[in-house]
């Protein structure tokens, strides 16, 4: 049974051909099968080289290197993502304005049978819908973003119902992940505006469908702790610990990650009880188990400061930046370190400038250097 094989660039839904798990006829053997030079895009994104991605998109468009409609969409998506990462929200918005409505026929496979014989459905990357919803808030139109995100959630739920009724299990799984992602994203908007009640109501929905998710339970605990409900957060952390002792890691966390999560949660409880010594002890256990646990490192430094040991707290953060820069370099750690510098040194601008220069050499394109407050 011979199968027509086109250069790995065309997608075919010939079931007979694809159900045979033959690596030679697999349409999805590499990332580049999905899109022109997709692996390069991925690589650049992983390194945080967003400016290079912008260049790459410009080049691909100028030299007409993209041949399929779906490739244009994917490149546009990376372009918008890069612009957003670089905080060029106006340009990102303009780029999105060049699109037609997402549900238009133009973005359906069946409209282009010459490229996609026997394939139907939407070719719009889901990420594009999400970014389109996120942009207005970054331009100061928060309400617009919330409306778009809630509409997108409705869209996802409609799809979910449709796929569930057709028993398409792989699909259902994917759309469920998207639903969880959206609910989490919407919650982050409510959280950053301290709309805790709405946030908790939303996350409760998520918890109802996934009650044994230790990461979700822990994050809910952080929210409860943030708003002051210490008893509530304790109950959630206890549940996470129970899940660990029951030996229920699921696919989410490996053993080290799970143990560290439980230790970090314990440390937080000590912290809010002002037992900073015990909190430091818990964090040290985490760091011993996983030296790249930056949350533990950061929080340990803060505990040291509350123990009046400003010098050591500075050392902990500086040490992490030196040892594991690609993991430790984030805006939060830099903000904390700079606050400590401002307290420790009368003439703190010198030391902050040293830090800032180092960051400029090492940091990814999207790093927001305003966090040094120079």
């Amino acid at each position: 049974m011979d199968v027509e094989q086109n250069d790995g660039q065309t997608l075919t839904s010939d079931l007979q051909a694809l159900s045979v798990s033959d690596p030679l006829s697999n349409q999805f053997s590499s990332l580049n099968d999905l899109c022109y030079e997709a692996s390069s895009l991925q690589e650049l994104a992983s390194r945080g080289s967003w400016r290079s991605i912008l260049d790459k998109v410009v080049r691909a468009r100028k030299l007409s290197l993209l041949q399929k409609p779906h490739e244009h969409l994917i490149y546009l998506c990376y372009n918008v993502l890069a612009l957003t990462k670089l905080r060029k929200y106006g340009e990102a918005s303009e780029e999105l304005d060049s699109l037609e409505d997402f549900d238009s026929a133009r973005y359906k496979y069946e409209t282009h049978p010459e490229h996609y014989p026997n394939r139907s459905g939407s070719m719009v990357p889901f990420a594009l819908r999400w970014i389109h919803a996120e942009i207005p808030q970054r331009l100061g139109k928060r309400q617009e973003t919330l409306d778009r995100l809630y509409s997108l959630l409705d869209f996802v739920r409609t799809k979910l119902k449709e796929k569930e009724s057709k028993n398409m299990n792989f699909c259902v799984d994917r759309w469920k992940k998207r639903e969880a992602f959206l609910i989490s994203s919407i919650s982050s908007h409510h959280l950053s505006h301290k709309e805790f009640s709405v946030c908790l109501a939303l996350l409760r929905q998520l918890l109802n469908s996934d009650p044994s998710n230790p990461i979700l339970l822990s994050k809910l605990g952080y929210i409860q702790m943030q708003l002051g409900d210490l008893e509530g957060s304790k109950a959630l952390f206890n549940r996470v610990e129970t899940l660990m002792t029951e030996g229920n890691p699921g696919a989410l966390l490996d053993e080290v990650q799970f143990k560290n999560l439980v230790n970090r949660n314990k440390a937080l409880i000590y912290l809010v009880g002002k037992d900073y010594v015990s909190a430091v002890r818990e964090y040290e256990e985490c760091i011993e188990r996983d030296p790249t646990d930056v949350v533990a490192i950061n929080n340990k430094a803060l505990c040291l400061m509350y123990l009046r040991d400003l010098s050591d707290s500075i050392k902990v953060l500086e040490n992490a930046l030196e040892r594991i820069p690609t993991v430790a370099l984030n805006e939060t750690i830099v903000v904390n370190l700079c606050s400590m510098y401002e307290l420790a040194y009368v003439n703190h601008s010198d030391i902050k400038r040293t830090l800032s220069n180092w960051i400029a050499r090492v940091a990814p394109d999207d790093f927001d250097s305003s966090c040094t407050r120079i």
Binding site: L11, L15, S21, Q27, L31, A38, L41, S46, R47, Y109, R119, G121, F126, A127, E134, Q137, Q143, Y150, M168, F170, C171, A180, F181, S184, S188, H189, L191, S192, F196, L200, R204, L206, N208, N213, L216, K219, L220, Y222, I223, M225, G228, L230, G232, A235, V272, V295, N298, L302, R308, L310, T326, T332, V335, N336, E342, L343, Y345, V346, P364, D366
Partner: protein, 529 residues
């Protein structure tokens, strides 16, 4: 000792050390699958089986914690859908002084730095809080001064102070030291802050027969949401108290996560309110209540709230007073009233007049006052004035009033006036004898409220009546019907409302209660003049 303004070797650096906060962001992290494929790609079973492997392969090679991941992958790739919540667990130091309120604890990191090139010796450090009324010492090293602080060195300390006064406060840090020239120098530094009032508590006391109800409304004047950890009403000696709450919605009761996830009581910043309702009873039992002249103290509130990461604050209210018990010479009690009357048909109410003095009173004349009969909904049927005989000291007399209602609905029997013929004294129309009111404990923006109604008289039978309640929400009128059975003196009923609001918009809700209409059984109307 010179207090020179310039050229000090030492300087104070101060940072308010309230609790840290969780870092919250709106992350730009995605699942690469959602970037590089069309959203409907998984409709294709072949894609469904091959793609996940393709992406996990590209992830696995760099994701082990043992190997150094030299990329900034984590700033771009979503590890789990819930990472989009943007609360990774990092804590952040307070970035500004912020606002400080009565009842909180002021905590500060104080560091004294030697930024000169020389050592300083014998440093005596003092930290105090200065308010309008007093000066409070927080730290004093005069008894054991710091021997030396080297060039570039620091001496750190953390101070705490429970804020108990409003208004301007100054943290005064002073250092007395010997500088390199052997000169004794004095360095004062001042850090000012203002303490504001975080909450206001408004109370209302209602009395329905033996029951006293205390409504308390707590308003949050701070800039952050306050979690109400404890709001306790501590009753005075001769009172006992129970808190009344609206029931939980059935959807919350059946919720799987109920045990680990109770919605917190959170009062929104800048003017949010929350209501509490308590029922109070006199502890002393028996029909004879000790009536003490003057005001009566019901008790006071102890409130503990928490702000970010559980930062506590505590306040106590002043004494809450009940309605003053004045000694009345005569008391009118409503003994019995029919629960349902038919408009246009006469009905009897049974009253008791009690002489609370130590001498004989009367005879009395009783009538209903207040406007002409066209305005009133209940009038006396028959003789407008009723004559009652004398009543001996501490005695009482029973009598009936024959009334007729001209209007539908729950009507108040008002304006019963008692006139002492001998002493020529009119006793003011005695208080309304029907009490019905609605109340919404909790957050007025929650979707449930509690109706509490009290009648001053027991009902003669358990006929049911229908209560209509309506509210308005911005410009829309919502009406919801509740049915309840009458209960002798007091009933409470939890009603749930639902409404749809665009998120992020402010909502104002306005409640009202309307009283039931008694169905007209007959239209015939007979009356005696």
């Amino acid at each position: 000792m010179s207090a020179t303004a310039g050229s000090h070797s030492l300087a104070f650096r101060v940072m308010r050390l309230c609790r840290p906060s969780f870092h919250v962001e709106n992350p730009l992290q995605l699942d690469p699958l959602d970037l590089l494929t069309g959203e409907d790609i998984f409709d294709d079973p072949s894609a469904a089986s091959h793609l996940p492997r393709l992406f996990s392969r590209s992830k696995a090679s760099t994701n082990k914690s043992g190997e150094a991941d030299l990329t900034y992958r984590n700033r771009f790739e979503l590890q789990n859908p819930t990472d989009a919540m943007g609360i990774p667990g990092f804590l952040v130091l307070p970035q500004s002084f912020g606002a400080i309120y009565l009842g909180e604890t002021f905590c500060s990191y104080i560091s004294i730095n030697n930024s000169s090139n020389f050592e300083v010796k014998d440093v005596m450090i003092k930290a105090e809080i200065q308010t309008e009324r007093q000066r409070i010492l927080l730290l004093d090293t005069s008894k054991s001064p710091v021997e030396s602080i080297r060039s570039g060195g620091r001496y750190d300390f953390i101070v705490e102070h429970d804020v108990k006064e409003l208004g301007a406060h100054t943290l005064v840090c002073t250092a007395l030291y010997n500088d390199n020239d052997g000169e004794r120098k004095y360095l004062p530094q001042f850090f000012k802050f203002i303490v504001a009032n975080p909450l206001s508590v408004r109370t209302k006391v209602r009395t329905v027969k033996d029951n006293t109800f205390l409504e308390a409304c707590i308003e949050n004047h701070t800039k952050s949401n306050l979690y109400m950890d404890q709001v306790d009403f501590e009753p005075a000696q001769n009172w006992s108290t129970t808190i009344l709450k609206a029931d939980e919605h059935y959807s919350e009761i059946n919720c799987q996560t109920r045990e680990i996830f109770k919605p917190p009581i959170l009062i929104r910043s800048g003017g949010g309110i929350y209501n509490y309702l308590y029922q109070l009873r006199m502890s002393s039992h028996g029909s004879e209540q000790v009536k003490v002249e003057g005001s009566n103290i019901l008790g006071k509130f102890q409130i503990t709230w928490r702000a970010n990461l559980g930062e506590p604050g505590r306040l106590q209210t002043q004494h809450i007073l009940g309605s003053p018990i004045s000694h009345k010479e005569i008391e009118l009690q409503l003994v019995e009233v029919p629960s349902k009357t038919i408009s246009g048909m006469p009905f009897l109410i049974h009253l008791k007049l009690i002489n609370q003095t130590d001498k004989e009173m009367g005879p009395f004349e009783v009538w209903m006052s207040g406007g002409n009969s066209h305005e009133k909904s209940i009038t006396v049927n028959g003789l407008q004035k009723l004559v009652l005989p004398k009543v001996e000291a501490s005695g009482s007399t029973d009598f009936n009033l024959n009334l007729i209602a001209t209007r539908l609905g729950v009507q108040k029997i008002t304006g019963i006036t008692v006139f002492d013929v001998r002493d020529k004294k009119t006793y003011d129309p005695l208080p309304d004898l029907e009490g019905l009111w609605g109340y919404y404990p909790g957050d007025p923006l929650e979707n449930r409220f509690l109706l509490v109604a009290g009648r001053n008289a027991p009902c003669s039978d358990n006929a049911s009546s229908t209560l209509f309640a309506s509210g308005s929400f911005i410009d829309h009128k919502i009406r919801w019907d509740l049915t309840c059975r009458t209960i002798p003196a007091l009933w409470q009923f939890t009603a749930f409302i639902s409404y749809v609001v665009n998120l992020g918009h402010r909502v104002v809700l306005d409640f009202g209660l309307h009283f039931p209409t008694v169905r007209r059984a007959q239209s015939s109307c007979s009356g005696n003049t």
